[in-house]
């Protein structure tokens, strides 16, 4: 049966938010995101106010994908960490398990060294969570919210078009 395969429950979100929150605090980082490799935003923590987090997730996944392509050309399996330094903000990206990406955004209140250190500290825990959530067996709650929709429901999606 074909069906959705990435499902996030309340307890997953709480664990992710709590761990990412500790990472953000200990790294003095403004924002911490967890996204998947196809560009879906899974969790966000921190001062996300004015930022377009959806676009950011899509571009960060593209960044990781393109860099992974470069790695393959060089015979490397992956480049597991990426860093982009700007005048005000910098971004650190790292792979979490097989499917997810950790994005840490920080400014002059932190440093690359501190962020790397904290990412190493929390990365393993987050990687385990990522692999567990992606691979876990379905439980009784795993019924799609779309299971009993009608064609009229689908047509109504376009009511504003």
């Amino acid at each position: 049966m074909i069906g959705p395969r990435l499902v996030l429950y309340d307890e997953d979100q709480q664990r992710l938010t709590e761990t990412c929150g500790r990472l953000a605090r200990e790294a003095n980082a403004g924002m911490v995101f967890v996204i998947d490799r196809s560009g879906q935003l899974i969790s966000q923590t921190g001062e996300v106010g004015g930022f377009d987090t959806t676009a950011m997730a899509s571009l960060a996944a593209g960044d990781i994908a393109a860099t992974g392509g470069l790695a393959h050309l060089l015979g490397e399996k992956e480049f597991p960490h990426l860093f982009h330094e700007g005048e005000k903000h910098s971004i650190h990206l790292s792979l979490l398990g097989r499917s997810w990406i950790l994005v840490v955004i920080f400014d002059e209140r932190s440093s690359l060294g501190l962020v790397r250190l904290r990412v190493r500290k929390f990365g393993e825990e987050l990687s385990r969570m990522a692999d567990e959530i992606v691979a876990r067996a379905p439980d009784e709650r795993t019924v799609s919210p779309f299971a009993d929709i009608t064609d009229d429901d689908i047509d109504n999606l376009f009511a504003d078009f």
Binding site: L6, G39, D148, I154
Partner: protein, 200 residues
């Protein structure tokens, strides 16, 4: 891969527009962006070259509304059409829940259509997407050009057994653009309905 986020009460899906270079994939997305209620759309991200050719992808997030209390969000992507961006196309296709193939109706672009179609099939298989089971729509674009081949001729090559819905379009004017998108969204949602028991 659809993402069901129970805490956020959201269902997110990804639709990828595929096709040969200059067939009008970006024009489709730009038209959708212009004609969509600003409250229902996010920022249009375009990663292109100095000559406005797509380098990596275009990205447009759409919020279509609620179904049973869940917000249905669709992320539209285009791939770069030029032949030598094959590696990039493969990356963008990852995690697609639906694919729209935009064909260039001009006779002299038929070989390019076929080459892109084969490339797409190959990349879908590489990502574990079953071309027979993945929601798929074909759009014959540029129907307004005098050099356009008859739709019947295009169908013979691209949709010979009429397995998927197809639409005529002129993306520059918007003709057929939303018909194509609506059909793709319907296919993806129906797929979600059919696959109502989730698998890891």
């Amino acid at each position: 891969m659809p993402f069901i986020n129970f805490p956020a009460r959201e269902v997110n899906c990804k639709i990828v527009y595929y096709g040969p270079g200059l067939c009008g994939k970006t024009t489709n997305i730009q038209y959708i962006y212009r004609k969509t209620n600003p409250n229902a759309r996010g920022k249009l991200i375009t990663l292109d070259t100095d000559t406005d050719r797509t380098l990596f992808f275009d990205f447009l997030p759409l919020s279509l509304g609620d179904i049973r209390g869940y917000r249905a969000r669709f992320f539209l992507y285009t791939v770069p059409g030029q032949v030598y961006y094959e590696a990039t196309r493969r990356l963008v296709l990852k995690g697609a829940d639906g694919v729209v193939f935009v064909a260039d109706s001009q006779r002299e672009r038929m070989d390019a259509n076929l080459e892109s179609h084969e490339d797409m099939m190959r990349n879908m298989v590489e990502h574990g997407l079953d071309p027979e089971a993945t929601p798929f729509v074909i759009q014959y674009n540029k129907r307004d050009l005098s050099t356009a081949a008859p739709v019947e001729d295009l169908r013979v090559d691209l949709n010979p057994e009429a397995k998927c819905p197809d639409f005529e379009a002129v993306a520059t004017t918007g003709y057929g653009v939303f018909d194509t998108l609506k059909m793709s969204v319907k296919q993806v949602v129906r797929q979600l309905r059919r696959g109502h028991t989730l698998q890891p």
